[in-house]
């Protein structure tokens, strides 16, 4: 083709007779222009890809220096030092909560059932009340109105009874009197009507299933709770006997248990108190660090403020105003705070910290000696939490040792290394923004969230998508194919925000209800605490990924030469043997590429995870094993969608979000590239 056109050009030049087109713009023929026009459009794809890089980089560019500066300030102001010291408090808090849970689980274990019943009865009452919120509110309002009118009535009556009124006024008052009485009657009538409605609504609610759902109340208990609810609405004073009895049992059982657990309680109290000196020790340091940081931030923005004031002074005509502004500008402190002076306090605190740690340790050890062994406890949750406490103790002591070592080694003027500030972003464990202490931009919680959700989605969707691809491509009749393929295209068309909505409205509740079924209690992570969590998002994304993976897998299977199929069948293989031993292995690289591309699609998906993942910026607690899927999480895509609209343009936070975007972009390119490599190998290898 190319040659033909060149020859044509040559002909034109030689003979001149066939020059049909005039030389146009810049000596290009019209055909050239058309050619370049189309070529230009095609190259737009490259251009856009470059532009995406440029603009992501442009907005993210300032992140690393700004982040580095922020971290340097964190160090110089001593916040880093305080954070090192605070490890002692944080670890203690975590351990203390395990201990606490253990103690109360143990205390309540003898009256668990009763407490559950009481809790359920309260929940039912709450639900009934919620259902009758409208009429009840109205009743309250009417009661208030009634009260008001009655007061007016009393006033008027007093007027009439007390003084000698002029006849005209007296007539007026009497008219008022009857007006008030009529109103009272009307309101009272309304109250009766609405009260009847409330009672009716209550009975209706009690008769229905909704208020009882999920509560373990059957038979006589249900009867009793119904009575209690009725009593509540009747305005009965005092507790219902069923409730009173239960409460009494709980009290007695607890009272029986308390002396047995006195040692435990005492020890856990001692443990709790052990940290108090440490807290008092850290508090002033913390304040000093905050103050230094505040000054540092003020100093950073000072030149700008000063310049603004000076410019303002320049602009004003009024000499007085100008003088005032100049004075203000003069007053702005541009200098950085004296970090060295501030740091002395920290250096001198190191020895005290070491001493406090030693004291803390002895006290904790003393307290722990008085604790019962986990095996002595009767309640499973009590045992589990106490065991967790004991297991965590050595780690905590280690962390204390490390904290002391780090505090000793800490220097406020040691430059913060660039690589460290970069890794503080890439593998930082905290993403904390808008904090009064220090903002941390660590990608890890978001990255783990994204990765975990995507992996779940992949693990769930691949069997379905691959199975369906095999079925449609190899087994299904033509009629089935004509049903399934368009149906899967429809699934692809379902907008992600609709799936997210479905996750909030239906799937979340469904999953939680299922997880609360008693016979499923053995499943790790069940019962789910949250409605919006990793597994919910993972399942929805799995559903989203099915069409992508299905289509690509089906293509890959379709590309397997028919000769292989007939060859295998002619050797006496069955249909499934042919599929599993010949067709799938031959298409394997295509299938792997499909899975990779599906992964790229899932990890870049935004709306579902934004709506459904739960939005908790924290590294999921992997110590729960598979149960981790019940946790709420946040993702890279979700954080961009959620926060970009709300932060100041050009701020560190804004740049951090663009950095996250850059990471996502790189992941998508890497996934694509991986798929390309796999596919190319396939092309070289196949046929």
């Amino acid at each position: 083709m190319q040659i033909v056109s060149e020859q044509k050009d040559k002909n034109k030049r030689v003979s001149g007779r066939f020059v049909a087109e005039s030389r146009g713009f810049l000596g290009l023929t019209r055909a050239d222009l058309i050619h370049y026009f189309f070529g230009g459009n095609a190259s737009l794809a490259i251009f856009i890809l470059l532009l995406i890089c440029v603009f992501l980089f442009k907005e993210a560019a300032g992140f690393l220096p700004d982040h580095h500066r922020g971290l340097t300030k964190w160090r110089q102001s001593g916040q880093e030092f305080v954070d090192i010291l605070n490890v002692a408090v944080d670890g203690h808090t975590r351990l203390g909560s395990s201990l606490n849970i253990s103690y109360y689980a143990e205390l309540n274990s003898s009256s668990k059932e009763e407490q559950a019943k009481l809790f359920a009865s309260r929940a039912v009452l709450q639900r009934v009340k919620a259902a009758l919120r409208g009429p009840s509110g109205r009743l309250r309002k009417l009661a208030a109105e009634l009260e008001e009118v009655r007061e007016d009535l009393a006033d008027t009556e007093q007027d009439l009874a007390g003084g000698v009124l002029e006849p005209a006024k007296r007539a007026l008052s009497e008219a008022e009197l009857s007006g008030h009485r009529a109103m009272i009657a009307a309101i009272e009538a309304r109250i009766v009507v609405i009260e009847a409605r409330v009672v009716e609504g209550m009975e209706e609610a009690l008769a229905g299933q909704e208020v009882w759902e999920g509560q373990q109340l059957e038979g006589a208990d249900r009867q009793a709770v119904s009575e209690m609810v009725r009593g509540e609405f009747d305005g009965q004073v005092g507790t219902h006997p069923w409730v009173a009895e239960l409460e009494q049992t709980v009290r007695t059982r607890k009272a029986e248990r308390i002396p047995q657990l006195a040692g435990f309680k005492n020890a856990s109290g001692n443990f709790r108190d052990a940290i108090k000196p440490m807290k008092t020790f850290i508090a002033p340091l913390r304040e000093a660090a905050s103050e230094l940081k505040r000054q540092a931030i003020a100093a950073e923005s000072a030149p700008k403020r000063k310049a603004a004031l000076l410019a303002g002074a320049e602009a004003t005509e009024d000499p007085e105003e100008r003088a005032r502004k100049l004075a203000q500008a003069e007053a702005v402190v541009v200098e950085e705070p004296d970090y060295d002076a501030g740091a002395e306090k920290y250096y001198s605190a190191v020895a005290d910290f070491e001493a406090s740690v030693a004291v803390l340790r002895t006290e904790i050890e003393a307290a722990v000696r008085a604790l019962p062994e986990a095996t002595e406890l009767t309640d499973p949750s009590g045992r589990q939490n106490l065991a967790r406490f004991r297991a965590g103790l050595p780690d905590y002591f280690d962390s204390l040792e490390r904290a002391v070592a780090r505090a000793k080694a800490w220097r406020h003027d040691k430059p913060y290394s660039w690589s460290r500030s970069f890794f503080a972003f890439l593998v930082g464990k905290d993403w904390i923004t808008n904090s009064s202490w220090h903002d941390f931009y660590g990608l890890l919680p978001l990255f783990t969230g994204s990765l975990l959700i995507s992996l779940i989605a992949l693990v769930v969707s691949v069997p379905f998508a691959l199975g369906a691809a095999i079925y449609v491509n190899q087994v299904a009749s033509a009629r089935e194919q004509n049903l399934i393929k368009p149906a899967i295209e429809f699934i692809q068309a379902i907008p992600s925000v609709v799936l997210g909505f479905f996750g909030i409205m239906v799937l979340g509740t469904l999953l939680r209800d299922v997880s609360q079924l008693p016979w499923l209690a053995w499943v790790p992570g069940f019962p789910l605490q949250e409605r919006l969590n990793i597994i919910n998002a993972g399942l929805l994304l799995a559903f989203m990924a099915v069409p992508t993976i299905f289509t690509l897998c089906e293509d890959a299977l379709n590309n397997v030469p028919r000769a292989y199929t007939s060859g295998a069948l002619a050797l006496g293989a069955t249909r499934m043997q042919t599929i599993l031993r010949i067709i799938v292995p031959t298409a394997l690289s295509g299938i792997i590429a499909a899975i990779l591309l599906g992964f790229g699609r899932i990890i870049g998906e935004t709306m579902v995870v934004l709506l459904v993942a739960g939005g908790k910026i924290q590294i999921p607690d992997f110590s729960k094993g598979i149960g981790v899927v019940g946790e709420a999480a946040h993702t890279m895509t979700g954080i961009i969608a959620q926060e970009t609209g709300e932060v100041d343009r050009g701020s560190l936070h804004w740049r951090a979000l663009f950095m996250v975007g850059l990471v996502l972009f790189s992941i998508s390119l890497a996934v694509n590239w991986g798929a390309q490599i796999v596919l190319r190998r396939f092309q070289r290898h196949g046929t």
Binding site: A31, L51, A493
Partner: protein, 391 residues
């Protein structure tokens, strides 16, 4: 073995069960694959039915005109939950509530609760989505088809070509939220805009004053507006459009081109007269497929175009004094409501209660119906093309 055959007279008999577990394995596997397939369809069906069962009652009603016209002719507004003097709790959109209150001065209504964006209808989001789709398709189709023509008609294998293809492939894999960030960075904050010299924004990268007009070209972007959103969406689906258009161009037999060229037509005449008309149905399908994808996207328009609240339709309230060009620009430089963003708002950004379920399910139902309509259209068109065009 041989004797066994001789006796039964069937050398090809299936071996006895206990010897051959293949048959049962065959059945089990087939069943497993079938179950996996139909499980997917069952999930899809349950989502679909869930939306229809809660959404259809919002849209359709028993008496004429059988369709909830308010839902399609009003903008989203606050939903008021109130209690009338009979003690009944009812809900109405804010304007309807005010109308009723002024129509019945004697009666007492007390407001129990109110929910933003949950009353009224979805006219604003519908219009906004339609405009976004229109802008996006106008841009992406012109650029996409031109690129496809280049790739299929002018292409020669070479470095440039393979780079273009690689770029398209990679572009297709970029997450939509990254397109959103990109659109925000380019169209909203850096694209050239025509502004009066004294109103150049601080964020402008640089500006070039145009002499005598008092205006300047300032690279300060357009802010969040439908043009920025449309462009972002256009870039996002460009790979889809290019790939599909190229496919339909390649489906036109080579003979058509050769015949045309042999008759002395130029390359462009050949493309225009002998290739494009035959590729047109395929391109139509591609563009409808594009619409399906674009309509459903939320992430790219979150910060480039969409707003939750807007109290007028885009074409209302334009400055009657400005020139037509000014009005034209003003029209495209305003933010819009969009259906997916509206769903996001009512589903996630306002408190949930039984009272705003109607708005949620109604919007989702209409949205799904729209997207499915386009999806069905493209499937149907493609089937038709496959049946009709055999060359």
């Amino acid at each position: 073995m041989a004797n066994h055959q001789q006796e039964t007279g069937n050398p090809f008999a299936a071996p006895p069960r206990q010897e051959d577990r293949r048959a049962s394995r065959e059945r089990v596997l087939t069943l497993a694959f079938r179950l996996l397939t139909y499980a997917i369809l069952a999930c899809a069906l349950s989502i679909f039915l869930g939306v229809v069962m809660r959404g259809a009652p919002v849209i359709f009603q028993a008496e004429a005109p059988f369709i909830n016209t308010d839902f399609f002719t009003r903008l989203p507004e606050t939903l008021v939950v109130y209690e009338d003097d009979q003690g009944e709790v009812r809900k109405l959109s804010a304007t309807r509530f005010e109308e009723m209150r002024s129509a019945n001065p004697g009666r007492r209504f007390s407001i129990v609760d109110s929910y933003s964006y949950s009353g009224g209808g979805i006219l604003g989001p519908l219009v906004g989505t339609a405009l976004l789709i229109a802008i996006c398709m106008a841009i992406s189709l012109s650029v996409g088809i031109a690129s496809a023509i280049y790739l299929s008609e002018y292409s020669s294998k070479g470095r440039f070509m393979s780079t273009v293809r690689l770029a398209i492939l990679n572009l297709a894999g970029v997450p939509s939220i990254v397109f959103g960030l990109f659109g925000l960075g380019l169209f909203c904050l850096a694209a050239p805009n025509l502004v009066p010299v004294d109103q150049i924004a601080d964020r402008s990268l640089f500006s070039v004053p145009i002499p005598l007009t008092g205006a300047a070209v300032s690279f300060e972007g357009w802010g969040a507006c439908m043009l920025a959103g449309g462009c972002t969406l256009a870039i996002m689906i460009l790979p889809v459009i290019i790939t599909a258009a190229e496919e339909s161009l390649r489906a036109v037999p080579q003979g058509f081109r050769e015949a045309s060229l042999a008759l002395g037509a130029t390359r462009w005449q050949t493309i225009r007269k002998s290739v494009l008309p035959y590729a047109f149905p395929g391109m139509l399908t591609a563009s409808i497929l594009g619409i399906t994808r674009v309509a459903g996207e939320t992430a790219p328009i979150m910060f480039t175009a969409a707003v939750a609240h807007k109290d007028k339709l885009p074409w209302i309230g334009q400055d009657p004094d400005s020139s037509w060009a000014g009005r034209f620009l003003d029209f495209f430089f305003q933010s819009v409501q969009a259906l997916p963003y509206h769903i996001y708002t009512v589903a996630a950004k306002i408190p949930q209660s039984e009272y705003n379920k109607d708005m949620q399910y109604g919007s989702v139902f209409v949205f799904m119906a729209l997207v499915f309509f386009f999806a069905a259209l493209s499937i149907w068109l493609r089937a038709r093309i496959r049946r009709r065009l055999h060359w």
